[in-house]
Point group: C2
Chain length 199, copies 2
């Protein structure tokens, strides 16, 4: 269902509120524990309204999740294209790790969305596209900044490693950005001699 039928600002606000609730509830409860009634309760509406604005609950969750992931990657993408260094870029990648809070595990939204997408449907293709786009932009940044290995492969592993770290962080609070930084730094081929190691 498109947004073409939305004629009033009120309708748009209600729709957006439901999308925002989904983004909050998916990581907190898990994808399939976000039921129509729970979502509606959180958004302050009645369950019936879901099918006025969306084709189904699943469509709502998919739109919310892929939208949130796309939005979350937009800022890092722009940063990479603003001419930052290897070290600065890596710091940015890992910043999300330390934003983790046990009661608001927004980082798990990525993992939940991946898992939901892995089981097929429209979500799969859309998320794959968003991810591919981000990886490409990361690879171009690596080349621009003088990385001389396989930029595409390195970008892919870097993105996967960050997601994996988010997942492991949920079980190990000690797995902070500080711990991961030197290791991934090596994966990017940065030795102490290559760039300033003490900023």
């Amino acid at each position: 269902m498109t947004t073409a039928h939305l004629k009033t600002a009120k309708g748009t606000r209600t729709r957006d509120r439901m999308l925002e609730s989904a983004v909050v509830l998916i990581p907190r409860l898990g994808w399939s524990a976000v039921t129509a009634r729970v979502l509606a309760g959180h958004a302050g509406v009645r369950p019936g309204i879901i099918h006025y604005h969306f084709d189904s609950l699943e469509a709502l969750l998919a739109e919310a999740a892929v939208g949130a992931v796309r939005e979350a990657l937009e800022f890092p993408s722009r940063q990479l294209e603003s001419g930052i260094s290897l070290d600065e870029g890596l710091h940015m990648f890992l910043a999300a790790l330390d934003e983790f809070a046990p009661d608001e595990p927004v980082n798990l939204l990525f993992v939940e969305t991946f898992l939901a997408a892995a089981r097929g449907g429209v979500l799969r293709d859309e998320l794959a596209q968003v991810l591919l786009d981000f990886r490409t932009r990361t690879a171009r940044w690596l080349e621009r900044v003088g990385f001389d290995g396989d930029a595409d492969a390195t970008a892919a592993v870097l993105a996967a490693a960050v997601d994996g770290l988010m997942l492991h962080r949920a079980l190990d609070p000690g797995l902070t950005a500080d711990v991961a930084f030197p290791v991934l730094r090596r994966a990017l081929g940065i030795t102490a001699a290559t760039e300033g190691s003490s900023p």
Copy 2:
């Protein structure tokens, strides 16, 4: 519920069959889509029997998942302790990546279990323990094999990276072990000069 009440071989077999079904169904359908009736159907039993052998469906899934993860890590652990090299070890880590099949995504079991554990409960502590044990054994192997950086941090990032790659692999079939190998090789501080690069 313990297994203390099991007096006959038949009872044990039924119990085991349910655990095995859970291990198959969790990655295929997703953790919370494995219902009592679906599981019973796959195991060839009636749903009621679940609560004879287990306290609840959730307890069944947790025991099955943590058991499968522990078992899956047992072989790699032993391999690491058998004196294999850095390159051989890394190959082993990445081997799971290429065992991925879209219709039998067993690698997603790890991610599903992590996600379920992240939401708390007994599973959380048990899985954290299994993971910590594996990471420690990996770190000792790194030291033994001559790795001179922070072995614990490197082991943690390596484990997280492999899980992240499993997740991303589900959306990108091109993300094979061959692609990831050179990048993680660098993270382990292996340069072409350190060890033989062409085996």
